[in-house]
Symmetry: C2
Subunit: 436 residues, 2 copies
């Protein structure tokens, strides 16, 4: 099957998360025009059956522009587990809409832009801005309806980190214990002598690379094991997440420096399920979705033996993500009760070791740290964030009483085109609302 | 992978729908004890990861007892599309519970039984009885929660028939037109000179058999094409539903006699989507789920190119199915408005040609007819029914103001162990409620 954009972007899309923006920009061809890749205009998956060249399959999701359709239809491509919203009525999201589209600001590349242009240029599928708990701006694009869950990619990690922090604060998990206390299966793996906290903070020393440009990178083995990318016939590696994790070996020292690794999160997700005896989807429902007054069920991806993926497989709706962000902004109190203990939010917001964060190069995110699977910029407003492949972003700004959720299908996988662009836009929104 | 019950039941499970009960009974080994196959007690899919011998995969769903877990977890095994419940609050299902478990009656095999024993003996996963719109009895078993959709198997066909009848009554589809008026792709197939009505009533002449005991039966090609049963490496047949349908040839005459054929329904499902430009899941949401005040999203199975299966792939919750049944009982009026036009329900209830029904042997269902994908027994109470593999059943009895939904995971696929047993139980419930 050929994609209508079987272009040099296959390579760019696949740029590693660890690359700096300038390194990517130096080698990248020009981005396609967003309007030319609108999945509705392109007629992706339109018709019964869709035309062969417009058919998106699991094997071609990561080939741009298929993600423009697929990111809000992941469940139609493979196994998923329900994250139940519960039987209560949805919490009310009051609206007080502002015309923010014409808001002007200086972009990360220099020069003026507007909020409308920024959304367009960053291949936005959905944007929701909550100010003091009210919806002040909400847009859906790419044919995505408000009730359709969108792939969060690595924003999923922050949900795994949130669940882990809850269980740590409740005393169910000891952050200073070795991972193998809970998962003895990992005794011969990289995590044999790693602590829970090192794994949560991604300061483990693991022989694993997350380089999308290298076909031998661990990330491809991960995607094959997760069933997210069908393996070629010659593939003889692990076919499930547990089978993958036990094979990964140590490299370097634990606790020395931050290095972004999807497999650390999968270890944590496995651990959560082991100690609770509940699936990731059940935990997300029980601890979060059923308590925030979610409007819609969400879902998580499952591997071929039903292992639920805990690092990149979560899909949820824009409006429910906004509820999560608002709950986090309000120190866990939302929907008339304490959804998550205040200490859990405080632990996440305090961030990690900024020195260790720099160890493996994070020029684009200077000043940040990564703690319990959340991104903390240590800025004046006390913001904290979730981030994911292809431009997924949740930005929580307590000082500005602001929550922003942005879902996208940017052609470039890593956040080199979206992290700084989004941060500039978020700052402009905060400034505008402060003076409003 | 070996199943803990890799027994002679693999063969019995696979008995053809067209067999009579006595033919099956003559060759069948004794049924396993239901309590020995409770998926919770068996620990199917328990643990992270589950033990290999307790792991249910798509390839082993039809191997008993895996269905006892799988039938309420189908989405965890493959691609599905959301049938959205809409944004309105759920319609209220008032309760007025009665202790019907001890209700005694004469079973179809002779001898006395009780409603509790009947449920047990027929491997029930869920049972809901509505009398005059109130829930008088509701049970869930097998670890199935009230919010979990359960596979309806061929009850799906009745939903396809309901949608078709709606579109016929609205004038969008002409029942007397040839199928090829809407689906020119079928011009060289069995349906080249078949009408819509013949296809809806399954009186087409089609070279296709639905015999689960014959590995060369069309039903296996169907399951492979639908992606419901992974194909063996040697399989060279169609891999999508449209690709399958165009290859099927005519046999005999159209309109001569009823013969149960899943592929007739798939033609109708394809036709519905073609004329409306909307997917089956979208139609189910727009026409039914969002209008009855459904409490939960439902879902439909999709093949590898996203074709939504319209004959066996629908999963829904017990409580929402009860809402559908009540809407049908009340001639389409439910949840404060006319969900479906009265004429649609009248058309379905009138049934089909009882003489044609007998043409290919339906001893077990003497007196029935099949019309617009619904089973009509032409009995005194004016009942009409949906039926599906492994004991799925919806029974609507207007005279007794009664709706019964029964979801099961019986080891025998066809309804030879459930059709008559259920009918006896339904009659006992109707009699008990009449005198209540």
């Amino acid at each position: 099957m050929k994609s209508p954009f079987n272009s040099p972007f296959a390579a760019v899309l696949a740029s590693a998360l660890v690359l700096s923006a300038s390194a990517v920009l130096a080698q990248a061809p020009p981005l396609p025009a967003p309007e030319a890749t609108d999945p509705v205009k392109l007629e992706l998956m339109k018709g019964f059956p869709p035309a062969p060249e417009k058919t998106v399959k699991l094997s071609s999701v990561l080939k741009f522009p298929n993600g423009r359709w697929a990111f809000h239809h992941m469940r139609e491509l493979g196994p998923t587990a329900q994250v139940w919203r519960g039987d209560e009525k949805p919490s009310v999201l009051r609206e007080s809409l502002l015309d923010l589209g014409s808001l002007g600001f200086e972009s990360d590349r220099g020069g003026r832009t507007t909020l409308a242009d920024w959304q367009h240029a960053t291949f936005t599928d959905g944007l929701l801005v909550l100010h003091r708990g009210k919806v002040v701006y909400q847009k859906h694009y790419s044919g995505m309806a408000a009730h359709q869950p969108h792939s969060l990619w690595s924003m999923s990690k922050s949900f795994t980190g949130l669940l882990a922090t809850i269980l740590i604060k409740e005393g169910t998990i000891d952050p200073n214990a070795l991972v193998t206390k809970y998962l003895p299966e990992l005794k011969d793996s990289a995590w044999a002598d790693a602590t829970v906290q090192q794994t949560l903070d991604m300061t483990t020393g693991v022989a694993y690379s997350e380089n999308f440009r290298d076909p031998n990178s661990g990330i491809f083995q991960y995607l094959h094991a997760a069933g997210l990318l069908p393996a070629p016939p010659t593939y003889a590696g692990p076919r499930t997440i547990p089978d993958l994790l036990v094979t990964i070996k140590k490299e370097g020292e634990h606790g020395a420096g931050f290095k972004y690794k999807t497999v650390d999160t999968e270890v944590m997700g496995w651990l959560l399920q082991r100690v609770t005896g509940k699936s990731y989807a059940a935990l997300l429902s029980e601890r979060i979705w059923s308590r925030i007054g979610a409007q819609d069920d969400a879902y998580v991806w499952a591997d071929p033996i039903g292992t639920q993926i805990t690092s990149v497989g979560f899909s949820a709706t824009l409006r429910d993500l906004a509820r999560v962000g608002e709950m986090m902004r309000l120190a866990g109190r939302y929907n008339g009760h304490q959804v998550v203990a205040e200490g859990v939010i405080a632990e996440i917001r305090k961030g990690g070791d900024s020195e260790k964060f720099k160890a493996n190069g994070q020029a684009m995110r200077a000043g940040y740290s990564y703690h319990n699977q959340w991104w903390v910029p240590h800025d004046r407003d006390g913001t904290f964030e979730m981030k994911g492949l292809n431009g997924q972003h949740m930005h929580i700004n307590p000082a500005a009483e602001l929550v922003i959720v942005k879902l996208s299908s940017h052609p470039v996988g890593d956040t080199s085109f979206t992290h700084n662009a989004d941060r500039h836009a978020f700052a402009a929104i905060a400034a505008a609302l402060r003076s409003h």
